[in-house]
Amino acid sequence: MASITNPDNRRPVAKPPNKLFRNLSAKVAALPMIATALVIFVGCSAWSIFYSFTSSKSLPREKFVGIDQYVRLFKTSRWQESMENILIYGVCSLVFSLIVGFLLAVFLDQKIRFENTFRTIFLYPFALSFIVTGLVWQWILNQNFGIQKVIQDLGFTSFELDLLSNKDMAIYAIVIAGLWQGTGLVMALMLAGLRSIDQEIWKASRVDGIPAWRTYLFIVIPMMRPVFVTTLVLIAAGIVKVYDLVVALTDGGPGIASEVPAKYVYDYMFANNNLGQGLAASTVMLTTVLIILIPWGLMEFGEKKAKKQVIDG
C-alpha cells in the first residue's frame, strides 16, 4: 500500500506484492470456515428464497407460482399478529434487558458484599433452556396454583393475574420470561465492561466533583461502546429466533395472540406440509433483519474503515 500512496516511491522493488497472497497462511487456514459460511449461510438462504416462489408442499418442487405465497402470507392474520408480536417482544426485551442488565451491573460494581453470590443468582436463569424457562413461567403464572393462588391465599381474594389467558397480555408474559432468562447475561457482559474501565477515570471524576450518575452516563457508557455493540448483537439474535419460549409458555395462544414469525415458519414447513409458505415467511424474516442490519453495519463498520484510512493516510 505504502508503495502506491507514497509519491517518492523509495522502495527498490517495482512490483507491489499481490494483495491476494498477503498473509497467505492465515487465508488458507480461514478457507474451510469461508466455505462453510458460503455454502451454509449464503447457499441455503438462496435455496430458501428460490423455493419460496414455488408451490412446494412437503417436498421441494420446482413449480413456480410467482409471488402467490407472499400475497397469501401478508393476508394471513396469524402472520400479521406474529409480526406485531415480534415487534413488541423485540422492543421490550431490547430496552429492558439493556437497562435492567446495566443497572444490575452497576449495583454489583459498588464493591458490595457477597458479590459472587448475587452474580450467580442473577446469571443462573441463563443456564436454563428456553423450554424450561417457559414451563417454569407457565407454572408461576398458572391461575390455579401460581402467583395468583398464593396471593389470594394470603387474603387478597380479588387479586387476579391472567397474563396467560388474556389475549392482550400473553405476549408480555413471554417478554417477562425472556427477560428473566436473558438479563443475567447482559449483566455479566456489562459488569465485565465496567471492570475494564480504568480506575484512574473514576479518581479523576471524583477530584472534579462530578456526581457518580453523570460519570456513568457521560463517561463510562460511551467508553463501553464495544460491550454495548456485542450485547446488542446477542440480544437481537435472540429476539429474531424466539420460538421455543413461546412453544413452552403459551404455544401461541390464547388463540393466535402470542404467535411469532419463527413459529409460523416451523408450523407451515413441517406441521402443515407447506414448504413454499414457510420459506416465504422465512424470506420475509431474513429481509427484515437485513433491512435493519445493513444500514447499521455500514454505519458501524463503514465509519471505522473510513477513520482507519484517514489514520493510515
Binding site: 394471513t76 396467560l164 389467558s165 388463540g255 413441517f270 406441521a271 406440509n273
Partner: protein, 415 residues
C-alpha cells in the same frame, strides 16, 4: 482388578446374548402420539401382542398432540432415519411420502390375508391405497361427532340433561348459576377446529357438509345456512370458561368427568378417559352422537405406516406387526381400551359399552358415514382452518361475518 474382569466378561456376555437374541427377535421402534391414560393402555395391547410373537416393541411415544408428533415423524422419514413403524392418520398426510417411495408396500400381505374383504368400511383401506397398492394398516375407527355430557353436572344445576345441542345451549345459563363451566375445551387449535366440523354436520346436516367440504360450493359457504353454523360456533365460544388455561383434550375431558364442566365436544377417544376413570355410559356420563341432532359419524381413524428399510429382517418384522394389528383378538382388545371401533366387522364386541353400541348401530347404515377431514382436506388447508378457529375462539372481537369471509377464502384456495 478382579471386579474389572468380571465386569468385562459380563458386558461381553451381554453383548453376545444381545447378538444371538437379535437373530430371532427384531427390535422395531414404533412412533405414535398416544399418551393419555386410555391411549397408553391401548398401545400396551399392541406392544404385548407383538412381544408375544417373539419380537420387541420399542415404544417411541411422542408427547403432545399429532401436531407436535407429525413433523418429528415426517422429518425422520425424510431425513433417512426411519422408525420401524409409525402412527399417522390415514388420508392425505402421508400421501407425499408414499409418492416418494418412502413407505413399505403391504399389498402382498393384504392379498394373502384378504384385507379388502374384512376391513369395513372399505373407505378406510381405500385411504391406505395409492395406485392400487396398499401402504398402511387401519387399526381403528374414530369419529369426531360426539358430545359428552356430565350427568352429575346437570343434576347439580337441577336440570334435565340435554339430548341435543339446542337444549344444551338453553340449559347453559343454569349451569353457570351453579358455578359449572358449560362447555369444556382445550386450547390446542385442532380441538376448536374439530368442534367446528362437528357443528357443520350436527347442526347443518349432511347436505350442507358435503357442499361445503367436498364440493366447496362458494354460494353455500358464504350463504345463510353456513352463517347459522357460525352463530352456533359463536354460542359455543361464549359457553367456555373465559379464564380457560387448559391445553390438552384429556384435561378438558377430566373436567366433564369430575362434573366441573357440563359437556365437551370431542371425538370418541374421550371415551377411553371415562372408562379409565371407572365411569359408565348412561350412569355418570352420556354421549350424543352428531350433537344429538343427527345420527352421523365420520370414520377417521389411525393407521400405521411402515417406512421402507434396507434390512430384510426388519422388513419381515414390519410385516409381522402389520398382520398382528389386524388380527381379531388384538382388534377387540385394542379398541375396547381406546374407545374406538374395530375396523373389522367379524369380531365379537360383547364387552362394548352403551356409547360404542350407539356408534356401531349408526355405522351399520352406510348412509350415515362421512369421510373425515383428514381424507378430504390436505394439512395446509386444515392448518389454516385451525388458525382461524382458534383465533375466533380466543378473540371475541373477530365477528361472525369476518370469520365466515375468511373461511370462504381458505376453502377457495384449497386444492
Amino acid at each position: 482388578m478382579k471386579f474389572k474382569t468380571s465386569l468385562i466378561t459380563s458386558v461381553l456376555s451381554l453383548g453376545l446374548f444381545g447378538a444371538s437374541a437379535s437373530a430371532t427377535a427384531t427390535d422395531l421402534e414404533v412412533t405414535h402420539w398416544w399418551t393419555s391414560g386410555g391411549e397408553a393402555a391401548a398401545v400396551k395391547v399392541f406392544a404385548d401382542a407383538f412381544n408375544a410373537g417373539g419380537d420387541n416393541w420399542v415404544d417411541g411415544a411422542i408427547a403432545g398432540s399429532g401436531g407436535t408428533a407429525r413433523p418429528i415423524i415426517i422429518s425422520r422419514i425424510i431425513g433417512g432415519e426411519p422408525m420401524g413403524a409409525t402412527q399417522l392418520n390415514h388420508g392425505r398426510q402421508a400421501e407425499e411420502l408414499v409418492e416418494a417411495g418412502l413407505m413399505l408396500d403391504l399389498t402382498e400381505l393384504a392379498e394373502k390375508e384378504g384385507w379388502t374383504d374384512i376391513v369395513r368400511p372399505s373407505k378406510l383401506l381405500e385411504s391406505c391405497t395409492l395406485d392400487g397398492k396398499i401402504y398402511c394398516v387401519p387399526v381403528n375407527i374414530h369419529s369426531w361427532q360426539w358430545m359428552w355430557t356430565s350427568l352429575k353436572a346437570f343434576e347439580t344445576a337441577g336440570i334435565e340433561a340435554p339430548t341435543n345441542w339446542g337444549e344444551f345451549v338453553a340449559a347453559a345459563p343454569k349451569l353457570r348459576e351453579a358455578g359449572i363451566i358449560p362447555l369444556a375445551v382445550g386450547g390446542q387449535a385442532w380441538q376448536t377446529s374439530g368442534m367446528f366440523g362437528v357443528m357443520v354436520i350436527g347442526i347443518g346436516g349432511m347436505d350442507l357438509w358435503r357442499s361445503v367440504y367436498v364440493e366447496k360450493n362458494m354460494d353455500v359457504i358464504n350463504g345463510e345456512d353456513m352463517k347459522k353454523i357460525w352463530q352456533a360456533y359463536d354460542d359455543a365460544r361464549n359457553l367456555t370458561d373465559p379464564k380457560n388455561s387448559i391445553q390438552n383434550w384429556n384435561d378438558a375431558t377430566n373436567q366433564v368427568i369430575s362434573g366441573q364442566a357440563g359437556a365437551q365436544i370431542m371425538g370418541d377417544w374421550a371415551q377411553g378417559e371415562f372408562s379409565v376413570a371407572g365411569q359408565t355410559a348412561g350412569v355418570e356420563y352420556d354421549c350424543l352422537p352428531g350433537l344429538g341432532n343427527r345420527a352421523v359419524l365420520d370414520t377417521a381413524g389411525d393407521a400405521f405406516y411402515f417406512p421402507k428399510n434396507d434390512d430384510p429382517e426388519v422388513t419381515e418384522a414390519q410385516l409381522r406387526m402389520a398382520s398382528m394389528m389386524l388380527s381379531k383378538e388384538v382388534q377387540v382388545g385394542f379398541n375396547l381400551k381406546k374407545g374406538s371401533l374395530p375396523v373389522r366387522a367379524d369380531v365379537d364386541l360383547e364387552a362394548a359399552n352403551a356409547c360404542m353400541k350407539k356408534g356401531l348401530e349408526i355405522l351399520a347404515n352406510p348412509e350415515n358415514i362421512l369421510p373425515s377431514g383428514d381424507q378430504i382436506l390436505n394439512r395446509d388447508t386444515q392448518g389454516q382452518l385451525e388458525d382461524l378457529s382458534s383465533e375466533f375462539f380466543a378473540d371475541k372481537s373477530v365477528t361472525i361475518e369476518d370469520a365466515q369471509a375468511r373461511f370462504s377464502e381458505i376453502l377457495e384456495l384449497a386444492e
